[in-house]
Symmetry: C2
Subunit: 427 residues, 2 copies
């Protein structure tokens, strides 16, 4: 296998001709696939259908504390749901508030509330000249969309193999305008890596100039392992921050969107008492109570952490072959060519692919022309601008194995073709 950069111009031109023929052929197949988001597959959703049997018209809809889940009340969510999600995050139920379907909304509302009301008594951010956020990138595009939506300046923090570059983070938090950092600490979106113990330790011991600085700890994939025997681990951050006397510095978010149903799960925030009081002050104005029936449905279905683990093993059985097939295709087709590198995650929803500099947009476009929509190149960076135009997020979950196989083949073909064009100076 010769690296592309060592090929002569003639060899590249010949190769290009051949690749173009293959590409025309691929286009002719009439593919029509959307792989832009990390959506669970139909097979995964089917697997959770027994949850629909939990209730029928003769059920007692009271929780184990006697709360009628059908009526108004219980702003913080039913106790058993707080306990279940607390167990998942390794924190006590009293540190958890359970919300509706989407942790994204809980995060959005946190930022929105900070804009209009400040954080635990601080100046509302809309009254400040400048508010900045640290954005480890590549990262979760919807985090960046929230901060952009509220006019918050985003500072890109490069990701290392252990997590965000903590030297930079420690430096930047000295600026009192820096009010937060977005983190997906486990099986991170899109890299699939998990923050190292050392990164977590330094994160939990930050000394931000702003008293209203918060770590936005989006633990979206905390139970999303692909393997039984080889799993990443993450320290429990609330207690780590508390041990450093910084218990208010972190807000943790999670949901069951990729555990139960993507559009109909339950979500939560976990935080210190002070932070929860701050959340509730607005929440009690915003809503009487979230969907407690759905909370109880989840509790009765999963029962406890063992139930969640058991359920996640079934997800893994569906996800694992997809990840492995994509990785095998990347390795077989691109290994040694020097035109791309990729991560090999042990969990989560994504494989992150780095093309040669300046190639990501062109690759994504080529895939699209042939009928496969990938996440827009650049989407994983603040302002959708990948400074090197090289990162592409691959979301293998949604397509069937057959579709995914075709997609993976198309993808490596597009990578090759665009790389040749790049080396020929054509793009």
């Amino acid at each position: 296998m010769t690296a592309y950069k060592d090929l002569t111009r003639e060899e590249l031109l010949a190769m290009k001709k051949d690749l173009e023929l293959q590409y025309e052929d691929a286009k002719g197949k009439g593919l029509k696939l959307d792989m832009s988001r990390g959506k669970p597959s139909e097979e995964q959703l089917d697997m959770t259908m027994p949850m629909m049997d939990i209730f029928n018209s003769s059920c007692d809809m009271r929780d184990d504390q006697g709360v009628d889940t059908r009526n108004y009340g219980n702003l913080e969510g039913i106790w058993s749901a707080r306990r279940l999600l607390g167990e998942m995050l390794g924190v006590a139920p009293e540190k958890v508030i359970v919300f509706g379907t989407a942790s994204l909304s809980v995060m959005y509302d946190s930022i929105s509330r900070s804009m209009t009301h400040g954080v635990m008594g601080s100046t509302p951010w809309c009254k400040l000249d400048k508010v900045k956020f640290l954005c480890p990138a590549p990262g979760y595009d919807r985090h960046f969309s929230i901060t952009e939506h509220f006019g918050i300046e985003m500072i890109t923090i490069p990701m290392t193999e252990e997590g965000p570059d903590m030297d930079l983070v420690e430096e930047y938090v000295k600026d009192p305008a820096v009010k937060g950092i977005w983190c997906v600490p486990m099986y991170t979106n899109p890299l699939g890596i998990t923050y190292s113990e050392e990164v977590c330790r330094r994160m939990a011991d930050l000394n931000p100039a702003a008293e209203d600085f918060r770590i936005y700890w989006d633990n979206a994939y905390c139970v999303h392992h692909l393997y039984d025997d080889e799993q990443d681990t993450l320290p429990e951050m609330l207690s780590m921050c508390e041990a450093n006397g910084k218990k208010d510095m972190i807000l943790e978010f999670a949901s069951t969107s990729k555990i139960s149903f993507a559009g109909a799960g339950i979500s939560c925030i976990a935080a210190s008492e002070g932070n929860l009081e701050w959340v509730k002050k607005s929440m009690t104005i915003q809503i009487i109570s979230h969907d407690k029936i759905n909370q109880l449905r989840h509790v009765r279905y999963f029962k406890d952490m063992d139930g969640i683990k058991e359920h996640m093993r079934k997800h893994a059985a569906i996800m694992r072959p997809k990840f492995e097939m994509v990785l095998e295709t990347l390795e077989r087709e691109l290994g040694g060519l020097g035109i791309g590198s990729w991560t090999k995650p042990l969990g989560g929803y994504f494989i992150s692919f780095d093309a040669m500099d300046g190639c990501a947009k062109a690759i994504v476009n080529k895939c699209k022309e042939a009928g496969v929509v990938l996440t827009g190149a650049g989407a994983t960076f603040p302002y959708k601008k990948d400074p090197h135009d090289k990162n592409i997020r691959i979301a293998p979950s949604y397509p069937t194995m057959e579709e995914l196989k075709l997609t993976a083949e198309l993808f490596v073909l597009c990578v090759k073709l665009v790389s040749v064009e790049k080396l020929l100076g054509e793009i």
Copy 2:
């Protein structure tokens, strides 16, 4: 029956002694009832339980357009749910976005969004020196809580028997700082009356100085009739505003909280295309999609407007005797005494009681001492301040008939006792 004001001091003192004995007796009964909110009763919630049979694990969870309700997607809600709630409000489905469980959150988010992003391109309200809202009162306390939470100045608009005093409303909207008016137009909270055709006509033809002025039309009780033969009617306001060339001036809200389950219904906004685009601009950042499974559950259960009407007749059968019993008690015990007046609603959730000036707080306190919690006196006014301290909201829905009977008896007793004390100059 002699009006209390015509009694001599001696007669009042004798009466007081007797009432105090009765009151001590009532306290001894150990009542423990919370009638502070308009909560559906257990009987009503039980009635809706067949909704829990709609889905089981072998169900097809696709809507009639093939959308898999279990997955992410469809920001605006599934089409059939938009159609169902549109039908309920008399507007086309494309004018409706379906949300999660709570219309209160939809309203809160509208105000919050206006604070940070303005309304359809206007200056964000947080950048303005002063923002004011018109608050017809007595009104819905949670509306007033939202505006108060965001530091919006509230201007009380007295209610007439036909709705808000429109002379005042027309005058106040000339002030460009006035950005909205809260309305519960049908079976209004707490009066139970419905805005007249004339009030609606004038409302739909307002000429506000502020281009971002909106009518917040909370149509919470649009199908909540108590009687089959005698029902209030309300014009469809979106088209009325549109006919006046003011289609962007109104945002309509509704939910099934008091149709299906109080904590687990579906909610919506209905508005012009421009307003919906404005809503979606933030909504697409805030959430991927609301609970479409619950939306489909509601669609399959109610099917159409006839299904909703049929269902509401069952609610009415439970609510009607409660309303009638309270009204009968008020009439029997207080009629002709000149110490109180009350509304006789044809629908909704409340009876509004006006005591003698300066007596409401004392009556509510007396009830509380005897074990019955009513809505706090003043809660129905901006800043929780009833200028005459006379309005009390009675919410007959939640208690059983037996409990309600005891409550009604206690209530009239407390009204009498406090009125006597008032006339004696003791309070």
